[in-house]
Symmetry: C2
Subunit: 140 residues, 2 copies
């Protein structure tokens, strides 16, 4: 894959990852449902919980979670995209608002048609919370 | 993918996943190094820890871990394979010996040549340990 194509593809995957945390923050079930794959098999492991499999069961778990959206915006810090052809693994740290991130997440996406859709989400507790990255200085 | 091909491919991925826990159990750095992808980007999140990226750093973390192999065989219970073309996501629960599983794991593999090789491992603590599945009855 040419470098430019790779960068564009990674950016598209990162946008899908951002959309996931946006849907979470907004408590939007419709946006969350739109994000998960239609054809590919899906699975989800919420923090500390057993693995849920199948689109219906995974979305049902999100319906319950999204009834009470998080009190502050969900962050995904230090996003890293591993491209694997028409699949991609994203790792990031999850936190709320300005608090240190307390979860490590693995999010897997596949290309369905022209859209990167989620097939797997696994968030697990970090032993030590990771502070929110400082915004880049605007003062040089 | 025809059903038979799918079953064979899922079995090949499951064997790679088993080989990972075998290498872990045996404290075999060479077997572990052989298992991780050469060409595809790799990442690893050990339980509670930040994400490690790149083959060298990931294998260095395993070298340290494998110096003290687990006191009892590592189990991977309730293995589930999600096939995504030339990539596959495996979920399972990790435990030692006969003790209940205390970690949920996401393991991602890609097909490199004829071998399924690991590109991602993420193990996170379970809030409630999951008992070892009973062996199927040998009566009947």
């Amino acid at each position: 894959m040419a470098e430019r194509n790779r960068a564009e593809t990674e950016a598209a995957v990162a946008r899908a990852n951002t959309a996931f945390y946006q849907a979470f923050t907004e408590g939007s079930y419709d946006a969350m449902a739109d994000l998960w794959a239609r054809s590919a098999p899906v699975a989800c492991a919420h923090p500390g919980s057993p693995v849920i499999t199948g689109r219906d069961a995974v979305l049902e778990s999100w319906r319950a979670i999204l009834r009470e959206p998080p009190p502050a915006a969900m962050r995904c810090d230090r996003v890293l995209v591993q491209l694997l052809g028409d699949a991609a693994v994203v790792t990031c740290y999850e936190g709320n608002g300005d608090r240190p991130a307390h979860l490590a997440a693995t999010n897997v996406f596949v290309l369905e048609g022209a859209s990167w859709r989620m097939v797997h989400h696994h968030a697990g507790p970090l032993s030590r919370a990771i502070p929110k990255p400082s915004p880049p200085s605007t003062l040089n």
